[in-house]
């Protein structure tokens, strides 16, 4: 074989692992969390007035145009109308920030904009402001399929996320995969186990009686299996969020979601 052909063949073989990443749940069988809800909550999510998450959307819309920080700049100052500038943005997160090299979720990206570009204080995790602005930005991608990249700098985070997904933890010694991969669709008490996708976040969760982030939901899962809840902002959450987003690739975003 000629040298060129050997080289070409080697390159193809090296690229194969990225292409051949196995999906535990095939694309055709992907089901959003909303399909595991009762009829009432599903219709509540689709009710553009009564969906309680819309209260946070309204606040988010106001925050979008509110100047803040040393530069007295608002989101709108650079990004103008969110309906156009933020279209499809949330569907691509988590994502590696080129400048800092860090993996960021949407909350992290918003806070980075606040500190770096606006000279403003970052919003605290799970604060009303952060939930509102994140929900507002994510809402602009409603209906669009999740589409994250696991190439280049994101690859190591993806691998860490997958490892985390399959790691047994806590008193119950369970991994995410035990419920959401091996037993989705089956009953746990009176609830049906979902596939555990992140496409509705931030969500209004009935159990919380308020809006909450994906990180909060991961903490809730950890407490559910009696494992130690990692602090907000832990890199392990971000790696897991990237894995979850990849795993749900193709599912349309539903923010603001309504969940049990």
């Amino acid at each position: 074989m000629s040298r060129a052909v050997t080289l070409a063949l080697a390159l193809v073989l090296l690229a194969l692992p990225a292409l051949a990443q196995q999906r535990a749940i095939p694309l055709a069988e992907l089901k959003s969390g909303s399909s595991f809800l009762g009829a009432d909550l599903r219709s509540l999510q689709n009710d553009d007035f009564a969906n309680p998450g819309t209260l946070w959307l309204e606040r988010g819309e106001k925050l979008w145009s509110s100047p803040a920080g040393a530069k007295n700049q608002s989101c709108a100052g650079c990004h103008q109308d969110a309906k156009t500038s933020m279209l499809g943005v949330a569907a691509r997160y988590p994502k590696v920030d080129a400048e800092s090299g860090r993996l960021l979720d949407l909350e992290g990206r918003i806070n980075l904009c606040r500190t770096r570009r606006m000279g403003a204080q970052p919003f605290k995790y799970e604060s009303e402001e952060l939930l509102a602005i994140t929900a507002y930005v994510a809402r602009q991608s409603r209906g669009m399929p999740l589409n994250v990249s696991i190439d280049g700098a994101a690859r190591s985070h993806f691998d860490a996320g997958e490892k985390s997904y399959r790691l047994r933890r806590g008193q119950m010694n369970l991994s995410c995969a035990h419920c959401h991969e091996a037993n989705w669709g089956k009953r746990l008490l009176s609830e049906t186990i979902s596939q555990g996708h992140p496409n509705g976040y931030p969500v209004y969760r009935m159990e919380w009686q308020t809006m909450g982030s994906l990180e909060r939901r991961l903490r809730a899962c950890l407490s559910g299996i009696r494992a130690e809840m990692l602090p907000y902002g832990s890199p392990e959450y971000l790696d897991l969020e990237l894995y979850l987003a990849w795993r749900a690739q193709g599912l349309p975003m539903e923010t603001p979601g309504v969940r049990r």
Binding site: A220, S223, G224, R260
Partner: protein
Amino acid sequence: MRRRQFLAGVAALPAAALAQVDPLDPLVWVVTNGAPVKQGKVTLTLPQLADNGNSVPIRIVVDSPMTEADHVKSIHLYSEKNPVRNMANFYLGPRAGKAEINSRVRLAGSQKVTAVAKMSDGSFWQDTAAIVVTLSACLDES
């Protein structure tokens, strides 16, 4: 006690197992002043199984023309098991046009909920609905 006697005894229990509101219940007395509360006119709708006890959709419809002469003055909602048994009161009148309320309530476990309507002619009507409310499958301390 012999098995047959026991079963006969059980069958003889009152059929009014759907706990209607007791007219002597002090919470109800405040509204009715001892007047009888009849079954009918009111339709209370709850799901059979709650998705989550923190937020359950409830619908109360009262069959009334809602005219000046004949209308619903108020609707009172009672819970069997909640710590606060008088869940809500809704005050209507002829300007409502239709006696229907929709809201979302909290229910502390499986129970029966009763709606009592006070009419303009001084009569009282009720309906009861039962619902199963379970705890969340996983403990959430987030």
